[in-house]
Amino acid sequence: MSPISEPINQLPKPSILEKLIQRHSKLAITLLAIFIVVFVYGMVTAPNFLTLFNFKTIIRDAALVGIMAIGLTFVTLSGNFFLLSMKETAALCIIAFATGMASGWGFELSFLFTMVFALIAGISQGALIGIGGNPIVVTLGAAGVLYGLGAYWSDNLVVSYRRPHGAEWLGTGSFLGLPNITVAFILIAISAELLLRKTSFGRQVYLIGANRAAGRATGHENFWMAIKVCTIASVCSAFVAIAFSAQVSSAQVNYFSSEFGSSGDMTIMVIATVMVGGNSIMGGFGSTLRSSLGAVFISTVDNMMVLHGFNSGPRVFAVGLMIVFSIIVFAILRRGSRSEE
């Protein structure tokens, strides 16, 4: 046999894009890149986009959804998917808080009163999920129960209380020029990230999320984990409910269903935020920082569309598009980085 052709021994060199994809922090880079593109586009085309005032608006709008998303991120990271009862927990809690305030209990007592409901909601849902209940089914049921309780309690009416009241500092106060709710968002984001990275609890969240069976085998039961993360998510919901009520000095059970955010539904917005941040739906991968950035990102896009004069239809459409887009982008990128073994 004669050598007809020499074997080609030249190997393709990795392109710049491939090198970039091989970098460890590529997911964060991508999120940042998209953010920059949107930011630049908004800056160029939208009136008043690039003002300090508007920037503050974006962060403030991101705060409420962001805080709830941070709470939900714990659930998702631990491999327990989502709570579909985020807005219903907030609905019951906002009624509880406003009732307390209207009864003249003062901020502190009303706060504690509200948190009791959040703890009961979180622990009971967590326990049901922990013994093996499907998170979607359990929290769908819980959503009905919680909302129904809130509606029954308030008779579907607005519960209002008069200014001045003890919660104004949280609702409308500010610190160093930033609204207090923004400050709370930043503080919660930082402490959640520290909790995840630096504590045994945070490590357990990641381990159980990455492989529940291995978690059990190494002594980390999902039962207790489910209770803890559901409680965190519920407490975050309750906190958002309190802050929102403090802003408007009232409460109604449907505040988080229609009069809220660009999509009108708080639960969907919160789940969208966790997804857009690029957290793994299956758990074990992601961070609360991603969710916080996701909240700011969605808020930025929403803000830009408002400045362009879009009404709620196209804005809901945009949020949906962002979820689909982020799932695709992150799925592709992660396939490149993970071993196939």
Partner: protein, 503 residues
């Protein structure tokens, strides 16, 4: 000289700076069984992927049936007459055997009754030695070994010229493995060629005509099986002399048991079991799949439902209900399936190694990075895991290194008892020897080690004493003096001479 059916020359495959294959040459004659051996990471899977059309990004020449080819996808390879049985099965559990065998393919009728299908698959099933099962049975009711055979039957239905079996017996017990080997022999008699990839050297010697040895992405040698010795083969696989795969047997142990297992009755066993486990010994539980040895280990570790029983250690009588309770009693347990519950594949290796002892690396719930690094480095050293790889994901490691991490993580709790089911399944020879050495070292330090294994070589050479199980029954206990592979094989396959009785 006869024409080769398949020939590869100067195949090179690179991923960035990493060379998975370097100028590999490989060939198979018609009607030949070619063994493909090498340590994990030697390039066996990469080579198989190229032949099967899963990977076309290589340089070099691939000739099949006298035609120079480059498969752009697995379907192309299949059309050309190459079939691959992967380690992971691709059967649909809820469908019947017949439906699974005829799931895809050109010769499958578009519309057929159940009876027609059954008639069609019968020849393929008898080909793989499954003529005794009803083709209408759903696949989920078959044993793992039988499922592997169904998978092969499906491949044979396409009438391939070349069949590639990638670790077909890795998850199988002795009798199922023998079936696979018999099937290979039948196929070869009909003129088919087979590439047989395996870590089990005894099988390789039993059925292969020739053996190709891969090392570090190169094909280092092609040898005729006749006249080849095991140590010769192992040496060329490793590229170094492997003095002793098994460390010198521990023959003495303490007289007082460390852990007394009393009336333990795990689900799946016929009778309750009593065991005395001594410090400093390696106890081997011998048995095939379904013999109950694995259930005993997981039951002791609180990971398997039981009907009753108790443990006694240091004067305390208890029975762990969860793995967590067993861990608190310093009992470590490694299951046979590291990917299922032994490893956090997506998390860094360092987190895997310290996952069992978060309390030890934390201070009031705050993780101490220096303590974690120290602990992980100590374990890595003890188990010869590369220190520099600690931050990378456990999923990128080869099977051998993954097993080292799965075992190594238990050192973090300073265990008194280590229970290991299949300590070296799917693990290459080099990592195997290292795992044996480490277990040996731990036993020497006074740890009680119990292994359950279906690997005869391992169970015959590593333990201090052996307890044999047969279909959920404890049949005998053998001291190391009475141990031989033949002896054990009789105990675990036909302890009561039942083969004679049934007639």
């Amino acid at each position: 000289m006869e024409e080769q059916l398949l020939s590869l020359s100067k195949i090179t495959r690179s991923f960035g700076a990493i060379h998975a294959l370097k100028e590999v040459s490989f060939g198979v004659m018609p009607g030949e069984v070619m063994g493909l051996v090498g340590e994990n990471g030697a390039g066996k899977s990469s080579l198989v992927k190229i032949i099967g059309g899963f990977d076309s990004g290589y340089t070099g020449q691939l000739t099949f049936a006298n035609k120079q080819v480059r498969f752009s996808g697995p379907v192309m390879a299949e059309r050309a007459g190459i079939a691959i049985a992967q380690q992971e099965l691709s059967l649909i559990p809820t469908m019947s055997v017949a439906e699974n065998v005829l799931l895809v393919g050109d010769n499958v009728p578009k519309i057929a009754t159940k009876r027609q299908l059954i008639k069609l698959v019968e020849p393929f099933l008898s080909e793989v030695g499954l003529d005794y099962i009803d083709p209408a049975t759903s696949v989920e009711r078959l044993s793992v070994g039988e499922r592997h055979l169904v998978e092969v039957a499906r491949l044979i239905a396409h009438d391939p010229q070349l069949l590639i079996l990638d670790e077909p017996t890795a998850a199988l017990g002795e009798t199922d493995s023998i079936r696979i080997l018999e099937m290979v022999e039948r196929l070869v008699k009909r003129g088919k060629s087979v590439i047989y990839v395996s870590h089990r050297l005894d099988e390789i010697f039993k059925i292969c005509d020739r053996i190709t040895i891969l090392r570090d992405g190169r094909s280092v040698a092609v040898k005729n099986t006749k006249g080849l010795s095991v140590s010769e083969l192992v040496n060329s696989m490793l590229g170094r002399e492997l003095e002793n795969m098994f460390p010198k047997r521990i023959s003495t142990s303490s007289k007082t048991p460390l852990l007394k297992v009393r009336d333990l009755w795990p689900d799946g066993l016929l009778d309750p079991v009593d065991l005395d486990i001594f410090p400093g010994e390696i106890l081997g539980l011998a048995g095939q799949l379904g013999s109950g040895t694995g259930e005993i280990l997981s039951a002791i570790a609180g990971a398997h439902p039981i009907r009753g029983g108790s443990l006694e250690m240091d004067g305390n009588v208890f029975m762990p209900k969860t793995p967590n309770e067993a861990i608190k009693a310093k009992i470590a347990y490694c299951s046979e399936d590291r990917k299922h519950d032994g490893l956090f594949l997506g998390r860094p290796i360092i987190e895997n190694l310290t996952s069992t002892a978060l309390k030890r690396i934390g201070n009031f719930g705050i993780l101490q990075p220096s303590a974690e690094n120290g602990l992980a480095n100590d374990i890595a050293k003890g188990f010869t895991i590369d220190n520099s790889r600690l931050p990378s994901e456990a999923g990128v490691l080869s099977g051998g290194n993954q097993q080292k991490v799965a075992l190594g993580k238990w050192l973090a709790i300073s265990p008194k008892v280590i229970l290991v089911n299949e300590p070296t399944r799917g693990v290459d020879v080099g990592a195997r020897a290292e795992i044996y050495q480490t277990l040996h070292k731990l036993a020497k330090k006074g740890t009680a080690i119990v292994i359950a294994s279906t690997d005869l070589q391992e169970i015959a050479n590593l333990p201090t004493r052996i307890i044999a199980f047969y279909r959920g029954l404890k049949v005998s206990e053998l001291g190391y003096r009475e141990v031989s592979a033949e002896n054990i094989l009789t105990q675990i396959t036909d302890p009561f001479g039942a083969a004679k009785l049934e007639r």
